[in-house]
Assembly symmetry: C2
Homo-oligomer: 406 residues x 2
C-alpha cells in the first residue's frame, strides 16, 4: 500500500508553484512556473534513483529499472501544466501517483520484472498552445513534431522557443520508446462518482473531441450614428452561433457536449460595433458517428447563417481525436485491483481528454478515476479528498504490478 | 474663405502620428502618441501667435486675441484622441478646422471683436478611459475632476498619472473660463448626408446616451465532463442579454441604438465553461423619456433572466448624458453661413456624442457636419472628401465671425 500522507504532501508542495489566492494553480505550459514544477518533480525522481530522459517535445520519462530491462516499461503518467484558473489535482495527481508508486516500491524493496516509468507529458491542457495533449500526441504520432513546435500562444510565442527557453527541449526522438502497458490515475473532473458515493471509477472510454476556431467578420462602425438596419455586427451574429453550439450538444444526449470557452472581440471598444469576433468551439461525444453528425449540424447552421446575414463566417478545425475505448486487459486490471483492495467501483466514461488516449495507440491502456469535490475541475476551487487520492494510487500500484510482474 | 489644401495637409500630418497600415489612426487618449499629437498642434498654434493654456484635466485652449479681450471668447474645438482602430478625421477635423480659421484670419489680417479660442478636449472617445467626453465633461461640471482623475484603463493606469506622465496636466482650474458661443465642425459618422448628396449638416440635437457595464457570473468548470444540464455558463446567458440590447434598440425607432462593443470572458480558455463574462452596453435615443424606457426594458429583461437562470447578473451605469438640443442662435448662424456660401444643407441629428453637448451647458452652441465615406467612422477606413472638409471649415469661419463680430 502506498503512503497517502506522502502523496498529499507532494501534491501540496507542487501545487504551491503557481499557487493562487483562491487555492488553485496557474502554471501554464512552458512558462517559468512550468519549469519550476518540472525541476521539482525530476529532483524527486532522481532522489529515488530513477533515470530521467527528456524527448524533443519536452516529455519527461523517469525510469526505475526492472529485473529484465529488455522488456518494455510499464508506464504511468499525466501532466503538470494547468489551466489559467486551474486546480492542484488535474494532471498533477497522475504524475505524483506514479512517483508515489515508485517511492512505495523502493521503500518496500519490491522489484518488478519489467521496468516502470513515470511520464510527464508536455502541454496537456491545450490552454496556452493548441493542439491539446501535445506531448503525448507527438509521442504517438497523432501529429508531427514540427506542427507542435510551430504552435503559438496569444502573444505569438511558439512552442519550440519556449521549450528551449525553459531548458526542456530534449534530444530523444519522440516515440523512440516502446511501452508495455499504460495506466493513468486522474480526478474525474465530473460529478458521477461523487453523486454515486463511489471511490474508484473504472474508465471504459474517453469522449471524442473536435475543437474549432470560428471567425465572424462584419463591419466595424460607430455605435451612435449607424442606424440599426444597416449594421453588420459581428458579435450579434456570433451570439446566435454560440447558442447553436450548446443546442447541438443538447440534441445528442447523454454524452453530447458543446462549449464556447474563448472569445476575442475586435476592436473591443464600447462605442464601436464589433467588426470581427473570433471564438472557440468544443464539441464532444462518445460515438465518432454522432460527433460527426454534430460537426455536420454545425456546418449546416453556419451556412444558413451566412446566407441569412451575408457576413463572412470561417471555421477551422484545430484539434480532433475520436472517442477512445481502453484495452480490456488494462480495464480489467484496474477493476480487479480495486475489488481486491475492497473499494467500491463503477464505470465512468471520461468527458475530458487525457494523455492516456494517445498512449492507447501504442500499448494497452487504462485509467483510474477518483472523485473530485462537486465534480468541479478547471476551476481554482477544484478539490479532492486525501483518502480518495490514496485509494486511486493504491489501485494504480496494484494494476501496474499486475502488468509489470512482481 | 479658408485654404482647403492647408487644412488637408495638416490633417494628413497629424494623422501620421499613430497612423496604421490600413490608413487609420490609433492614438488613444494620454498615450505617448497623444502627447506627440498635442505637441504638434500647440506648436502650430504658437506659430500663429496664439497663447496656449492647459487646464487641470489636460484640455488645451489656444487663443487669438480680439479687439475687446474683456469679452468671452467665441470657441471652437474637438479632440485628437482616437479609437483603437480609428480614422484621421473624427475629432481631428474639428481641431484643425479651428486652427485653419485662425490661419485664415491671420493671413487676411482680420480682427474680431471677441477673442477666438480653439480647444483640444481630453479623452473624448471614452475608449481607453470612461467617462466619454471627459475633458469637456469636467470643464462644464458634468462630473468632478476627482472622478475623472480616478478613471483607469484595462491595465489599471489612471488618468491623473497618465496626464502627468505625458506632461499635459495644467494649472488652470477646469471651467474657470467663460465662453461666448461654441461651434464644432465634425464628420457626420453616419450615412445621412452622403445618401442625400448634401454637403453641410445642420445639427439640431445629439442623441442621449447610457453606458453600462454588465457582469454575468456563472460557475467555471470543465467543458468535457460537465453534463449540459448542470452547467452555469456565463457566456450563454450573456448571449441572450447581448441580443436583447439590440432588440431594445429596434423597439424604439428611428433613433434607438443598442450596441455591445466590448466583451471580456473569464477565464477565456477553450475547454473551460466561462465562469464570468463582463461586457459593455451602449443605449441611445433622441428623447430622454424613450432612453429611460429603454433603460427600464433592459432592467426588466435582466431581472427576468436572473429568475430564469439563477445566475448573478450585475449592471452598473458608467456614463449618461441626456439628449442635447443646440441653441437656435448658433444653429441659425450655421444654416445662414452655409446658405450664404451656397452649400446645400439639411438637418442631421447626431448619433455620436460630442464635446459640444457639454459646451452647450455653458454657452449657446451648434455643430456643423460634413459627409464621410459610406457613413463609416470608428474604423480605420474612415474617409472624407477634401472639398467637403473645406466647405465645413468655411461655414465654421463664417458662423464664428457672426458670433465674434468682425
Ligand atoms: N483532463 C483534461 O483536463 N484534459 C484537457 C483536454 C480536454 O479538454 O479534455
Ligand atoms: N464623436 C464620437 O465618436 N464620440 C464618442 C462618443 C460616442 O460614442 O458618441
Amino acid at each position: 500500500r502506498i503512503d497517502g500522507q506522502r502523496l498529499w504532501d507532494s501534491l501540496m508542495e507542487l501545487g504551491a508553484i503557481g499557487g493562487t489566492a483562491k487555492g488553485g494553480v496557474c502554471r501554464l505550459a512552458l512558462t517559468d512556473l512550468d519549469k519550476q514544477g518540472r525541476d521539482l518533480v525530476t529532483s524527486w525522481a532522481r532522489a529515488e534513483g530513477m533515470s530521467v530522459v527528456i524527448d524533443q517535445i519536452g516529455n519527461i520519462f523517469m525510469r526505475r529499472a526492472g529485473r529484465n530491462n529488455a522488456l518494455p516499461p510499464v508506464m504511468t503518467g499525466s501532466h503538470i501544466d494547468t489551466q489559467p484558473t486551474g486546480g492542484k489535482f488535474d494532471g498533477n495527481y497522475g504524475v505524483l501517483s506514479g512517483l508515489e508508486v515508485i517511492r512505495t516500491l523502493n521503500q518496500h524493496k519490491i522489484e518488478t520484472e519489467a521496468p516502470i516509468e513515470v511520464a510527464v507529458w508536455t502541454n496537456e491542457e491545450g490552454s496556452r498552445f493548441v493542439p491539446v495533449m501535445m506531448g503525448s500526441g507527438v509521442f504517438c504520432g497523432a501529429f508531427t513534431l514540427e506542427h507542435a513546435y510551430g504552435a503559438t500562444d496569444v502573444d505569438g510565442k511558439n512552442v519550440k522557443d519556449e521549450l528551449t527557453r525553459i531548458g526542456y527541449i530534449g534530444e530523444q526522438k519522440c516515440g523512440d520508446h516502446p511501452i508495455g502497458a499504460y495506466y493513468e490515475a486522474h480526478i474525474e473532473q465530473g460529478p458521477v462518482l461523487e453523486n454515486a458515493d463511489t471511490v474508484i471509477g473504472v474508465v471504459p472510454a474517453v469522449l471524442g473531441l473536435s475543437w474549432y476556431d470560428c471567425t465572424v467578420t462584419g463591419f466595424e462602425s460607430h455605435a451612435g450614428p449607424t442606424p440599426m438596419e444597416i449594421r453588420k455586427d459581428a458579435l450579434q451574429v456570433s451570439t446566435y452561433i454560440m447558442q447553436e453550439v450548446v443546442a447541438i450538444a443538447h440534441r445528442y444526449p447523454p454524452y453530447g457536449r458543446g462549449t464556447v470557452g474563448q472569445v476575442q472581440v475586435m476592436p473591443n471598444s464600447r462605442n464601436v460595433i464589433p467588426g470581427q469576433v473570433k471564438f472557440s468551439i468544443d464539441l464532444r461525444n462518445v460515438s465518432d458517428e454522432t460527433l460527426n453528425t454534430m460537426h455536420e449540424d454545425l456546418l449546416a447552421y453556419l451556412e444558413q447563417t451566412r446566407q441569412k446575414t451575408g457576413l463572412r463566417i470561417e471555421l477551422e478545425r484545430v484539434s480532433y481525436f475520436p472517442p477512445c475505448p481502453f484495452h480490456p486487459e488494462c480495464v480489467g486490471n484496474v477493476r480487479d485491483a480495486a475489488d481486491a483492495l475492497g473499494y467500491k467501483t463503477m464505470d465512468v466514461v471520461s468527458g475530458a481528454g487525457h494523455d492516456a488516449i494517445y498512449a492507447a495507440r501504442l500499448a494497452p491502456a487504462g485509467m483510474i478515476f477518483v472523485p473530485c469535490k462537486d465534480g468541479v475541475s478547471h476551476n481554482e476551487i477544484e478539490d479532492a479528498k486525501p483518502e480518495h487520492l490514496e485509494a486511486g494510487c493504491n489501485v494504480l500500484l496494484q494494476a501496474m504490478l499486475a502488468s509489470a510482474g512482481a
